[in-house]
């Protein structure tokens, strides 16, 4: 027994030293890169996105879109060459802060494009703002991303509309276009994104003369929704508002239909994924930032370029990441400097900049002013363009 534990100790020491050596080497390599990146004409941009985990398709699209924006400019802005550093946050707030810290302190990025979801972007936005790194998220729709308790985070922007607007548009669409009068809402109590959409939908739907039959929460790890869905089924609402991401709404949608709920499903941009269960969600509507079927010339060109490079139709996340990255590159060009303060000022002053998802002017909170698109889910895996709704 004694001999064995000694061997065990030796083995552990060996493993530890190998691990140390490995990380040590990694550190050196990064150091070399840093040395290479410190010349005056190189600007590093971090792309923060969930490349694994529950919303990985969001992350893949984001990196593709942002990279396309850089490549279309030939990897250069004015006199500066742009180096892209992707980082995986696994859609986990803690992990996001860790990798963002690495981007800022080790890679010395000047700007960050990302992250994708609000829950990861909010903590990172504070970090970026404190360290004076310009940050622009393509898709984080929660208000708290750019404003913290009434105080503007000056270095943080976004390329998408915000949660109140999405909830408002969804409510307006349900009332005016679909002529529905009753709705139930089911949301994740631990996620700022779904809470924001749910609250704003409720507020605007009630204000517009509709009735909310149920306003119920669940938690992230729940898989059994039978109890709440049975309650909802009894009240038979015309609309079931599900403002969560595609995995969860697919699971809820399936159980809702099994409980005999025939309501129209409505959701937010979190539905936009090829992994959504299209058969179950057939006929549902969701608010989005852009549609590949939109006939405008900017969208057409973007879709062609994206298809040529990646072989698939870009989703909204790709379009918004492309827009976010373009806005950042445009600001760098206007500022003609790698000084984050100048880039931030140039970004804030952006006016009628043509992006894929519309003309962007920033309001005082770093939010773009533009219209929203409504899409319908089809059983064959397609998303049909329905209409656009202005704020």
């Amino acid at each position: 027994m004694r001999v064995r534990s000694k061997w065990f100790a030796v083995l552990m020491v060996l493993i530890l030293s190998v691990a140390l050596a490995a990380t040590g080497c990694g550190g050196k390599k990064e150091g070399e890169q840093k040395a290479a990146g410190t010349d005056d004409k190189t600007i590093k941009i971090g792309i923060l996105a969930p490349l694994t985990g529950d919303v990985k398709t969001f992350g893949e699209s984001t990196v593709n879109g942002a990279k396309l924006a850089v490549e279309q400019r030939g990897g250069k802005v004015g006199d500066f060459s742009i180096v892209v550093v992707p980082a995986d946050d696994r859609n986990d707030p803690t992990e996001a802060v860790n990798v963002a810290t690495k981007l800022i302190s080790q890679d010395k990025v000047v700007g960050i494009v990302g992250s994708v979801t609000s829950k990861t972007t909010i903590p990172v936005s504070k970090l970026a703002n404190d360290n004076k790194v310009v940050m622009i998220s393509g898709t984080a729709t929660n208000e708290k991303v750019t404003v913290d308790e009434g105080k503007r985070k000056e270095f943080v922007f976004r390329a998408c509309f915000i949660d109140p607007f999405q909830g408002k548009v969804a409510a307006k669409f349900a009332l005016e276009n679909l002529k529905k009068k009753t709705a139930a809402v089911l949301y994740d109590q631990g996620n700022d994104y779904t809470i924001g959409l749910a609250n704003n939908f409720k507020e605007n739907f009630t204000k517009g003369g509709g009735t909310i039959t149920d306003f119920l929460a669940y938690s992230k790890d729940d898989t059994d929704f039978s109890a709440v869905l049975t309650n909802i089924a009894k009240k038979n609402p015309e609309v079931l508002f599900l403002p969560d991401y595609y995995q969860k709404v697919s699971l809820i949608g399936k159980q809702a239909r099994a409980k005999g709920i025939n309501a129209v499903f409505i959701g937010g941009d979190g539905w936009d994924s090829s992994d959504l269960d299209y058969k179950t969600m057939d006929g549902g509507y969701f608010t989005n930032h852009y549609s590949a079927d939109d006939p405008s010339p900017q969208v057409k060109k973007f879709v062609e370029d994206y298809k040529a490079k990646y072989g698939k139709t870009p989703d909204a996340l790709a379009a918004l990441a492309y827009d976010a990255c373009s806005l950042l590159l445009n600001a760098i060009q206007t500022a003609n400097s790698k000084d984050p303060v100048k880039i931030k000022d140039a970004m804030q002053a952006t006016k009628d900049f043509q992006t894929v998802s519309g003309k962007v002017t920033f309001d005082k909170d770093g939010n773009p002013i533009k219209a929203a698109t409504i899409l319908q889910v089809k059983a064959d895996g397609k998303q049909a363009f329905v209409t656009t709704v202005s704020p």
């Binding site: 064995r4 694994t52 985990g53 529950d54 990985k56 696994r90 109590q189 119920l216 929460a217 669940y218 938690s219 790890d221 898989t223 059994d224 039978s226 109890a227 709440v228 049975t230 309650n231 009894k234 995995q247 697919s250 699971l251 399936k254 099994a258 005999g260 992994d275 269960d277």
Partner: protein, 295 residues
């Protein structure tokens, strides 16, 4: 309104029987080895994945896929016991507990690696359609019936195994005293291995059924159900086999009725609150017996 209550009770039963599937394995292993096998929920996860690969990718018929998952997981269970628990059998209890936590985290993160299961959520295409039966205004699905029957078979099978077979007798003696069992000619190591094999096979069956009932799987899916099933086992009296089913049914009812009639936000808080209450009043669980301390 009455109707609604009946529907909700059926929802609660489905959830409760799901927990029972996992809790049975938990409680059996505890009963024999006196070890809380925290990796049980993750063996459950591995079972769900193997079953899913079986019926959706390797083209196995559903029952064969379940059996494959059970076989793979019993080997996994025995291996875990051999590597992580056996060397610590006579070490302080806390060492084995920490080792169990380590195995649990290892399985979760090893499973998350790209070449294993990958970190992503997968949608499970059910190998058969969900069919609803309407009996006197109550809706029951075929999946609920399968789960119910499986739990009954497992319960009866375990009771038979433990009280009517030779290996069961060996398990009971090992549960009382390792050294005395060894003196009586019982092979303690083998008995414990068999215990882990059966417990893990049960976890695998539970995992596959869980993946059918809630058709989405990922490497961390075992944590919450594992925790709830453990709670159920403690509630019923850990180590007592019918107690696991009783505890699981109570957990399922409390959770469902709370979210149906009180608040869907308070469901876990109330479920675990009841656990604390029961433990304060009856520390050995509902069916637990207080054994006199041996001097």
């Amino acid at each position: 309104m009455d109707h609604l209550i009946v529907d909700q009770i059926i929802n609660g039963l489905q959830l409760g029987f799901m927990y029972a599937l996992i809790a049975l394995g938990y409680t059996m292993v505890y009963g024999v080895v006196k070890l809380i096998n925290f990796a049980h929920g993750d063996v459950f996860m591995v079972g769900a994945f193997v079953g899913y690969f079986g019926f959706s990718q390797w083209g196995l018929p559903f029952p064969v896929a379940v059996l494959t998952a059970m076989a793979v997981c019993s080997i996994l269970g025995v291996t875990i016991e051999r590597i992580a628990y056996r060397p610590l059998r006579y070490a302080p209890k806390i060492a084995a507990l920490i080792s169990a936590l380590g195995v649990s985290l290892f399985l979760e993160y090893f499973g998350s690696l790209k070449f294993v299961f990958g970190p992503n959520y997968r949608v499970v295409q059910r190998p058969f359609e969900e069919v609803q039966y309407h009996l006197a205004g109550i809706t029951v699905t075929n999946i609920q019936i399968i789960v119910f029957i499986t739990v009954l078979i497992m319960l009866a099978g375990l009771q038979f195994l433990i009280y009517r077979t030779k290996i069961g007798m060996a398990m009971r003696t090992v549960a009382v005293d390792h050294n005395a069992s060894r003196l009586m000619g019982v092979n303690v190591d083998n008995t414990i291995s068999v215990t882990f094999a059966i417990g893990s096979a049960f976890a695998a069956a539970g995992g596959v059924l869980y993946a059918i009932a809630y058709p989405q799987i990922h490497p961390f899916m075992g944590i919450m159900p594992g925790l709830k099933a453990f709670t159920a086992a403690v509630l019923g009296g850990i180590g007592i086999i019918p107690g696991a089913v009783l505890g699981a049914i109570i957990m399922g009812q409390v959770e469902t009725l709370t979210s149906a009639f009180l608040s869907s936000q308070a469901r876990d808080a109330i479920a675990f609150g009841i656990l604390i209450l029961v433990l304060l009043i009856r520390p050995t669980g509902i069916l637990g017996r207080t054994e006199p301390e041996k001097v």
